[in-house]
């Protein structure tokens, strides 16, 4: 079952890459018309949505753990945070590359850039917190869940507060043809699949690990 799903994910990823780089290629007004850098949007936008989705999943697992005390929730939380930070890193990295190519600076204080950076920091601090709590696992799980909830509340506050900075980000993008829309859609779907698969596999690893420790 999992092998089939993994295969599907792989196919989706390849297909979306192919679409993005061939028929869905974005041309048009740019500082450098020949530069392919605009196509980074196919990785950038899905990553940003994925890292937010992961954060929401983290919130759900945190509430789940605090409500039930079931260890499985904690495994999912750990896996989700690790996957979330991958996408948050991709989000920031692609954003920085694009910014450098199109506008010049690698980074500047602008609402979405600030939000993405803080999102990344929240993930990093969550993972550091996870790895630096001595003592019982129950306590670690509880403390991490508390932090995850507070961090989740921080996200909307980040988005509002970033509005106090001048916006330079690319306004919402419009696509010219169905191929581009298709490529974008494929990018979203394949990234979501990838995230789900990674969380699933990592959760299983953590479960097996804790079972091994029990023996």
């Amino acid at each position: 079952m999992r092998k089939i799903l993994l295969f599907i994910t792989l196919v989706l990823l390849l297909a979306s890459t192919w679409m993005a780089l061939t028929k869905g290629r974005i041309e048009g007004p740019s500082a450098n018309p020949d530069s392919p850098v605009r196509n980074i949007i196919y990785a950038h936008v899905p990553s940003s949505i994925c890292s937010l989705v992961c954060f929401t999943v983290l919130l759900v697992t945190a509430i789940g753990y605090l409500a039930t005390g079931n260890e499985s929730w904690d495994h999912v939380a750990a896996a989700t945070a690790e996957v979330g930070i991958i996408f948050a890193t991709v989000l920031n990295a692609t954003g920085m590359i694009f910014s450098r190519a199109e506008w010049g600076p690698w980074w500047t204080a602008s609402p979405r850039l600030i939000s993405s950076a803080i999102l990344w920091f929240l993930y990093v601090v969550y993972l550091i917190l996870r790895s630096s709590l001595p003592g019982s696992k129950q306590r670690r799980a509880r403390v991490c869940a508390v932090f995850a909830i507070i961090a989740f509340l921080d996200v909307p506050m980040v988005y509002i507060s970033a509005r106090y900075m001048k916006e330079i980000h690319q306004p919402s993008f419009t696509f010219d043809n169905p191929w581009q829309r298709g490529a974008f859609f494929m990018g979203m779907v394949s990234t979501m699949f990838l995230a789900a698969m990674l969380i699933w596999i990592k959760t299983d690893i953590l479960k097996i690990k804790s079972r091994l420790e029990a023996e």
Binding site: S136, K137, Q138, S210, E213, A214
Partner: protein
């Protein structure tokens, strides 16, 4: 009120994956002084902390004077006081301030006269305006007892109360504890020093590898022999 002071029902507890308590059940009536003994890691302290509500059991329930420590914590918590080898008092506050602080937390009204009597009982009256930081270990333990009794509980939990006390301080503590049971109080105590513990307890419980293996009243057993057997058992285990 129920005659049963403590009612522990099939309590299990595991830390991570290590079982610390397995299906422990124990009932304690009023005017009993129970000594819980066992070698290190047998689960004594864990059991006491579960009774006190500081730890949550994985399974089972604890009732204190008929109040469930999980479902009715506020009522259950007012039923008992607890001492341990650490004093649980604030070194910067004076003896009197410590006691009236905890009296307020327990909602005791007009605590002044009772605190004075309490200080007299434990022999700290002349120290009442001194900060706790200057008290010696023995005096600090007296203050800890006074703190635990400030709301006149029916039950006293004591976790290794004799650690770090010299013979004289131990003797004083035993007197105070015996006084407490004579006035109708119940004591549950864990200690390594079962020799000393037996001097103020009338029931002995032995925990071994997370199980309860022995439970008897001291009047029913030959304490000398029990002591000898226990010492050789403890030696063989460690």
């Amino acid at each position: 009120m129920n005659d049963m002071v403590i009612n522990v029902k099939s309590v299990c507890k595991a830390f991570d994956t290590r079982n610390v308590l397995r299906d422990i059940a124990i009932d304690i009536d009023t005017e009993q002084a129970v000594l819980i003994c066992g070698i290190n890691g047998a689960g004594k302290t864990t059991l006491l902390r579960i009774i006190a509500g500081l730890l949550q059991p994985d399974q089972g329930s604890v009732e204190l004077c008929g109040y469930n420590i999980r479902k009715d914590p506020e009522k259950a918590k007012s039923q008992f006081g607890m001492i341990s080898h650490k004093s649980m008092v604030y070194p910067e506050l004076t003896v009197l301030e410590n006691l009236s602080f905890f009296a307020t937390l327990y909602g005791v009204k007009d605590s002044d006269t009772y605190i004075t009597k309490l200080l007299q009982d434990v022999g700290l009256l002349s120290y009442r305006y001194d900060t706790a930081s200057i008290l010696s270990r023995g005096l600090l333990q007296r203050l800890a007892i006074a703190r635990a009794l400030v709301h006149q509980p029916a039950l006293l939990l004591a976790d290794e109360p004799f650690t770090g006390l010299d013979a004289k301080a131990c003797h004083h503590l035993i007197t105070v504890l015996n006084e407490f049971t004579k006035n109708g109080g119940t004591i549950v105590m864990t200690t390594h020093d079962i020799d000393i513990g037996l001097q103020c307890c009338n029931r002995v419980v032995v925990l071994d590898k997370s199980n309860l293996i022995f439970d008897a009243k001291t009047s029913d057993i030959d304490t000398e022999r029990f002591l000898k057997d226990y010492v050789s058992y403890a030696r063989s285990e460690t």
